[in-house]
């Protein structure tokens, strides 16, 4: 508790912006808490404050995970809602006693999640899901024991109803928490921290899954000749589909939508409390399974991405080693004629200076000439060797190629928190006959340069594919600081680099590839700030 006390005693109003956020979050909690209680009040059990779905308690846990300073609000919210919305009026004293038990329970649960398991709402990791799945149901079981005892003891719940109250409390809390907490974390990530992932939610597969769940719930709940509780299991299919495709963030959002749809459907069809509880049990199991699968998929994808990065790194290292060996061999080859030229020429000069013999000096110079010819042949051989690397051209859709580059560079963009997107204005595919690997390499170099040039967090890079007469322009635009005047002249020269670990070959290579395709590589500054690099290639 000590470390926590220290962090909460740090004045939350230290700077006014944080203070405002603090107040805003507290107010939002109170309003949301009371609203949720008002909405769910009709599912309360036997006039007690227990409801069969308690998203409000999940909110309490998350609020305390944000800051322990919010603790008093738990009491305010709970006591107010009990006094305002309960169908049966309870004496204030009884309410205070019962709700204190509950509030302390949630405090303990929040602190366990945060301090013991290191879980943070704003940056949840897949393995944190396991903590939520374990702590929420167990915690609800323990808290429920104390709370229901307090209710019975103070007469807020009827004496004989302890077990049914306890069961109702548990399912209401556990089912809500395993849906609401992960979903909130995912909303934070997908909508705020990693906004480029919003497309996942707009993806046809996601929308299709939501529709499927909606249709399933409506159809099953109106079907009178089948037990719709069994048919509910069909909801697994869309949930698993989304989890497998997008991982646990989209999976958690999907589960939240499914939960909300289920609640609306259950109320709309006037399902009784007993069946309601059964559905919540099934929803609970569905949530746990769906999120476990999503977490596994996300972890697996992260591991694969890591592996891919390492492989790329390895390839780069081995390429560098190969290049190094080749450079060493070449430099040895060419140093032979250079050495003999040096010796012949100095020998000739000394002969002439000392007047020892013009004939001999002429002979030495002729030999030096032959050596120069030998050096030239070595250089020609090197050029032929490099040219041999030319590969067959293939017909490629440049829009698709740009999309591949976007995917490949998205990790680099994410690392710097820079937005990277594709803008295609053409409705028809632009095809060119190209050396695919070469052009991919050139565009990847341009994109990576841009990503590294723009400021972190506020930078944006746009890759665009446009038609320009008989040419296609692959352009990379950024809002970076632009090209400094002193670099501009030598921009395309090999071994000129401003990067600490760069080779200075990216732009020369891109220009070489443009030339090989009878295209061109150009750049210009854009207003108000930034640069656009453009690779033009002839269309097929």
């Amino acid at each position: 508790m000590t470390d926590f006390a220290a962090s909460s005693s740090a004045n939350p109003f230290a700077d006014s912006a944080r203070g405002r956020n603090f107040v805003r979050l507290g107010l939002f909690y109170l309003v949301a808490y009371l609203a949720l209680n008002w909405i769910t009040a009709h599912r309360s059990i036997n006039g007690s404050p227990i409801t069969l779905w308690s998203p409000d308690d999940a909110l309490s846990v998350m609020l305390i995970m944000e800051s322990l300073a919010f603790a008093p609000l738990l009491w305010v919210g709970q006591i107010a809602s009990d006094q305002l919305f309960s169908e049966v009026h309870h004496p204030l004293f009884a309410t205070v006693v019962c709700e204190s038990t509950l509030a302390l329970g949630y405090l303990a649960m929040a602190l366990t999640l945060r301090n013991r398991f290191g879980l943070q709402i704003r940056s949840m990791r897949p393995r944190d899901l396991v903590a939520v799945m374990a702590v929420a149901p167990l915690g609800a079981a323990v808290i429920g024991l104390f709370y229901c005892s307090a209710l019975v003891a103070t007469g807020e719940a009827p004496q004989g109803e302890f077990l049914s109250s306890y069961a109702g409390f548990w399912i209401g809390d556990a089912a809500a928490m395993v849906v609401i907490i992960p979903a909130t974390c995912s909303i934070f990530r997908v909508l705020v921290a990693e906004p480029w992932r919003r497309t996942e939610v707009g993806h046809p597969l996601f929308l299709l899954s939501v529709t499927l769940i909606f249709v399933a719930l409506v159809v099953f709940l109106s079907a009178s000749h089948v037990d719709s509780r069994y048919l509910f299991n069909l909801c697994y299919l869309p949930i698993l589909m989304v989890g497998m495709k997008f991982g646990y963030d989209a999976g958690a959002l999907m589960l939240l939508l499914a939960q909300v749809l289920l609640l609306i459907a259950l109320d709309y069809f006037g399902v009784n409390d007993k069946d309601f509880a059964s559905y919540q049990v099934m929803m609970f199991v569905l949530s746990v399974s769906g999120q476990a699968l999503g977490a596994m998929v996300t972890e697996w994808e992260a591991a694969t991405a890591q592996l891919r990065r390492q492989q790329a790194e390895l390839a780069k290292v081995s390429e560098r080693a190969t290049n190094g060996a080749m450079a060493a061999a070449m430099s040895h080859e060419i140093s032979q004629p250079l050495a003999s030229i040096a010796a012949y020429v100095l020998g000739a000069r000394r002969l002439l200076e000392s007047g020892q013999g013009e004939e001999k000096a002429l002979g030495a110079l002729r030999k030096a000439e032959n050596e120069a010819a030998r050096a030239r042949k070595i250089v020609e051989r090197l050029r032929d060797f490099v040219a041999k690397g030319e590969v067959a051209r293939e017909l490629v859709d440049l829009g698709e190629l740009a999309a591949v580059i976007l995917r490949l560079q998205s990790d680099a963009a994410r690392e710097r928190d820079v937005s990277l997107r594709l803008a295609t204005t053409e409705d028809r595919p632009l095809r060119a006959r190209i050396d695919r690997v070469g052009v991919e390499q050139a565009l990847a170099n341009l994109a990576l340069n841009a990503i590294e040039a723009v400021p972190a967090h506020t930078g944006h890079v746009v890759i665009a594919v446009t038609r320009r007469g008989g040419m296609a322009a692959l352009s990379v635009e950024d809002n970076g600081p632009g090209v400094a005047a002193e670099i501009a002249e030598r921009l395309f020269e090999p071994f000129e680099t401003t990067k600490p670990r760069g080779m200075g070959l990216g732009l020369p290579l891109a220009r070489e590839i443009a030339a090989q395709h009878s295209g061109r590589l150009s750049w210009r500054p854009v207003a108000p700030r930034g640069t656009v690099f453009e690779l033009e290639l002839p269309l097929a």
Binding site: S335, A339, S340, A342, Y344, G347
Partner: protein, 203 residues
């Protein structure tokens, strides 16, 4: 010493490089003997005398650095100029540690290579002068009789004639006689001149 033939061994598998070095060195009055491989050179190198060799590191079978190791193991008096690849610092460092006289990066600056060879030859010359003196000294020492030898050793220890006579249990006159013979045979005017000759041999 101008009568002495100035000669350098060139070990390089590139005939053009050997030819060019031969021509260049000839302008400084230096003869060359060319070898295309380390093995070829090793078989005919004059191991007993000081000599100078320009050695390329990249050779077909036995490498230059391996040959260098063999040369310094056999004789301390060879001056080896190692030719290494451009920027091949590790080889250059190894060569110097092994006891190379110098190293040049290939392609070399012909002027400084020439200067280096001159320096190496000067050292070889000093070595061989020294060698000649040592040989003469050994030769002269061999002409002494057994008794003269004993007197010679005691003279070098700095003993006076009387002491020598006492130590060898001979008369002072006899000792003086032997002393005169030793000085004559070594062509030395005094004891201190004899000492100088002995010291020169020993360093």
């Amino acid at each position: 010493m101008s009568a002495m033939k100035r000669r350098v061994f060139v070990v390089d598998d590139e005939p053009e490089v050997r030819d060019a070095l031969t021509l260049l060195l000839s302008t400084a009055g230096i003869d060359t003997e060319e070898y295309a491989s380390a093995e070829g050179f090793w078989e005919s190198a004059p191991h007993d005398d000081p000599y100078c060799v320009i050695l390329d590191n990249r050779l077909p079978a036995l490498s230059g650095i391996e040959l260098l190791a063999r040369i310094v193991e056999r004789s301390q008096r060879a001056s080896v100029i190692m030719m290494t690849g451009h920027g091949d610092i590790p080889t250059a460092v190894r060569a110097m540690k092994l006891g190379a006289f110098h190293f040049v990066e290939k392609p070399f600056d012909a002027e400084s290579l020439l200067a280096m060879v001159e320096e190496a030859l000067a050292r070889a010359e000093r070595e061989s002068e020294h060698n000649a003196e040592a040989a003469l000294f050994r030769e002269r020492r061999a002409t002494l009789t057994e008794r003269e030898g004993e007197v010679f050793d005691l003279l070098l220890e700095g003993c006076a004639t009387k002491t020598i006579a006492a130590r060898l249990d001979i008369t002072v006159r006899t000792a003086e006689h032997h002393r005169g013979a030793v000085l004559r045979k070594f062509d030395a005017k005094s004891i201190s001149a004899l000492m100088r000759l002995a010291l020169a041999r020993n360093d």
